[in-house]
C-alpha cells in the first residue's frame, strides 16, 4: 500500500504514469537493435553447428510474434491506447493468407496486400468508434470488437469455422516455393521484423511521433496547443493494425494452419503481456518480450499441463509487488526495458 501511495504521489505532479520512461538515446537503441538483429541473423548458422533445426523454427515463431508486439507497443507504449483486441488483426492477417490460398492465390505479396487492406479498413472503422472514448471504455470496446471478429470467423463455416483451415503449402514468392525452406522463411521473417522496427522508429522520431507521444502524456494539453489527438491516434491505430496483419500472414505460413483461436481475447492479453515484459514504449523490447513469454509458456508447460496457473500467479505477483508493474520490475531487476 505504501509503495502504491508513493507511486500515486510521484505520478501526479509530472502527469506521467508510473513505469513509463522518457525516450532516451535513440541512437543507442538503434545500435542495440542492429546488434540484436545481427546476432539473430547468425542463428541458422548456430543451429547448423549444433545440429538443432528446431531452434530456427522456434525463433521464427518468436519473431513473428515480435512483429505483432512491435505494432502493439507502438500504440500502447507511444499512444497510450490499451488495445485489448490486437489479436484480431493477427487473426485477420492469417485469414488473409488462408482464404486466398484456398482459392489458389498463394502469392505472398498479394496476400500481404490483402491483409494490409483488410486490417487497415478494420482498424479504421473500429478505431474511429473506439477512439471516441477513453480509458476503461476504450479497453472494453477494443475487446468487444476483437471478439466480434472472432465470432465472425467462428461462424464462417465455408473456411473451417471453429475448426480452422489448413494451408496446403506456404505462400509462394513470384511463383517459387522458396518459403518451404525453413531457413529462407526465417530470414524473411527476420527481415520483416527489422523493417517493421525501422519504419516504426522512423515514425516515432518524426513530427507525427512527437505529437503521438504528446497525446500519451497529456491529451488535453495537446488539444490546447492545436493538435487534436483523434486523427493522430487513429492513424497510429491503423498503422499498428496493418503491421499486425502482416505478422498474421507470416504466422499462417509458420504454422500452415489458421483458426479463430488466433484472435481469441486471451491472445490479445498475451500480446499485452509480451509488450510489458519487453518493456513498454521501447520498441527494441519486442523481440525479448516475445521470446521471454513464449519460452516461459513452454517452460511452464513442461512442468504441468496447468501451466496457465503458473503464468497467472507470476503476472499477479509482478503487478502487485513491484513498483510500476511489470515494466518497473523489468527495469529494476533485469536491467532491460531501457531504450
Amino acid at each position: 500500500m505504501n509503495a502504491d501511495a508513493e507511486n500515486a504521489a510521484a505520478a501526479v505532479p509530472t502527469g506521467t504514469a508510473p513505469g513509463r520512461k522518457p525516450l532516451v538515446a535513440r541512437g543507442g537503441a538503434n545500435l542495440a537493435a542492429l546488434i540484436m538483429f545481427g546476432v539473430l541473423a547468425l542463428l541458422p548458422v548456430l543451429a547448423g553447428l549444433i545440429d538443432d533445426p528446431f531452434l530456427v523454427v522456434t525463433f521464427t515463431r518468436v519473431l513473428v510474434f515480435a512483429i505483432a508486439v512491435l505494432s502493439l507497443d507502438f500504440i500502447l507504449g507511444y499512444g497510450a491506447m490499451v488495445s485489448f483486441g490486437h489479436a484480431a488483426f493477427l487473426g485477420l492477417g492469417a485469414y488473409a493468407a488462408a482464404i486466398p490460398a484456398a482459392h489458389g492465390v498463394t502469392d505472398l505479396f498479394l496476400q500481404v496486400a490483402i491483409a494490409a487492406v483488410a486490417c487497415g479498413l478494420f482498424a479504421l472503422v473500429t478505431g474511429a468508434i473506439s477512439l471516441r472514448t477513453r480509458g476503461v471504455y476504450f479497453i472494453m470496446i477494443t475487446l468487444a470488437f476483437g471478439q466480434m471478429a472472432y465470432f465472425f470467423m467462428t461462424s464462417l463455416s465455408a473456411y473451417g469455422g471453429d475448426d480452422g483451415i489448413t494451408l496446403a503449402t506456404r505462400s509462394t514468392v513470384l511463383g517459387s516455393g522458396i518459403l518451404e525452406n525453413d531457413v529462407v522463411f526465417f530470414y524473411v521473417v527476420l527481415g520483416t521484423v527489422a523493417a517493421s522496427y525501422a519504419v516504426l522508429r522512423a515514425i516515432i522520431g518524426s513530427r507525427f511521433g512527437r505529437v503521438l507521444s504528446g497525446t500519451r502524456e497529456n491529451a488535453t494539453r495537446m488539444q490546447a496547443i492545436g493538435f487534436p489527438p483523434f486523427p493522430y491516434q487513429l492513424t497510429a491505430y491503423v498503422i499498428a493494425g496493418i503491421i499486425a496483419g502482416i505478422a498474421g500472414v507470416l504466422l499462417a505460413n509458420q504454422t500452415e494452419f489458421v483458426s479463430p483461436a488466433y484472435m481469441s481475447w486471451q491472445r490479445s492479453g498475451e500480446l499485452i503481456v509480451m509488450v510489458v515484459l519487453g518493456g513498454m514504449g521501447t520498441m527494441i523490447g519486442a523481440v525479448p518480450g516475445a521470446l521471454a513469454f513464449l519460452l516461459l509458456e513452454e517452460w511452464l508447460a513442461y512442468f504441468s499441463e496447468h501451466w496457465k496457473l503458473g503464468l497467472g500467479v507470476i503476472l499477479v505477483l509482478i503487478v502487485l509487488f513491484t513498483r510500476g508493474g511489470i515494466a518497473g520490475f523489468v527495469s529494476k531487476y533485469l536491467g532491460g526495458g531501457r531504450a
Binding site: 500500500m1 502504491d4 501511495a5 507511486n7 500515486a8 504514469a17 508510473p18 500502447l76 490499451v82 485489448f84 468508434i129 471516441r132 472514448t133 480509458g135 476503461v136 471504455y137 479497453i139 472494453m140 470496446i141 475487446l143 468487444a144 470488437f145 471478439q147 466480434m148 465470432f151 465472425f152 467462428t154 461462424s155 464462417l156 463455416s157 465455408a158 481475447w265 492479453g269 499485452i272 503481456v273 510489458v276 513498454m280 496447468h306 496457465k308 496457473l309 503464468l311 497467472g312 500467479v313 507470476i314 503476472l315 499477479v316 503487478v319 502487485l320 508493474g325 511489470i326
Partner: protein, 307 residues
Amino acid sequence: MFNLFLLQALNGVQFGILLFLVAAGLTLIFGIMDLINLAHGVLYMVGAYLAATFTAYTGNFFLGVLIALPVTLVFGIVLEVLVFRRLYERDHLDQVLATFGLILILNESVKIIWGAAPLSVPTPDLLSGSIPLIGPLRYPLFRFAIIAAGLLTAIGLYVMVNHTRVGMLLRAGAVNGPMVSALGVNIKRLFMVVFGLGAMLAGFAGAMVAPILSVEPGMGDSVLILTFVVIVIGGVGSIRGAFVAAILVGLVDTLGRTFGPILLRSLMDPSAASQTGRTMAPMLIYILMAAVLFFRPSGLFPAKGNA
C-alpha cells in the same frame, strides 16, 4: 410465427436478466472505483460451480444456491482484500494485467478442482415442467423462475441504490469518489461492500443458469465480454443503464439469431440466407454497441457528465 417470436422474446429477456445480474456489480466497480476488472466473469463461473457442488451435496438446488451465495460473497471480499485493493491507485494497464492473471489462475484452478469436463445440474423438481402461455404455447417454468428471480433482484437493487444510505453513498461515489472520501466516508469499506455485492450478484447469475447451461471452465469469459457490451451501451456506473442495455442486448442477440436468417430468406436463396444469417447474428450486438457509441459516446445513461 408470432408464437416463435413470443418464445424467443422471452428467451431474450431471460438472457438479458442474467447479463444484468453480472453487469450490475461490474458497472458499479467500474463507475465507483474506476477499476477495470476482467475477472468479473470468473466470479459468475465460480458461482455456477459452487451451486453445482452444494446442490450435489445437499441434494437440493435451492439449498445449494442459498449456500453458494454467501460463499461467493466471501470469495469476492477475499479477492478484494488480496488483490483488488492494491490496484485502485494503479493505471489501467496494471489492472488489465493483474485481472488477466486472475482469470488464468481461477480458470485453471477450477479445472484442477472440478476437472475439465462440464458438470450438469438437474433442474429442481419444483420448477421442472412448463406452464401454458396462450393457446397451445408453453414455456419452461424454470426459465420463468430465472426471469422472476432476476426481476426481484433488480427491484431490490433499485430500492437499495435509490432509497438507502448505502445506495446514496454508491451514487455519490460514482459521481465523485474523492469528494465522498473527503466528507468522511470510509471509502475503503464502501469499495469492499460493492465488490462483495458485485461478486455475489455474478455468482447468483451463474448459480441460476447451472441447470440450463453446462457448467465448465471458461464459461465466464464469453459472459464477461457481453457484459462489457452491456456496460458500454448502458453507461459506466449506471444500474438503470445496465438494466436497459442488458435487456436490449439479450433481445437483440436472441431474436437476431432466430429471425436474422428468416428475414434474409425473403431476400436471397435459403442456403445463402442461413449462412449469412449465422455469420451476421453474433455480430449484431457489436453493431448495436457501435451505433450507440456513435450517437452517445458515454452510453445511454452516463453516471458522470463525461466518463
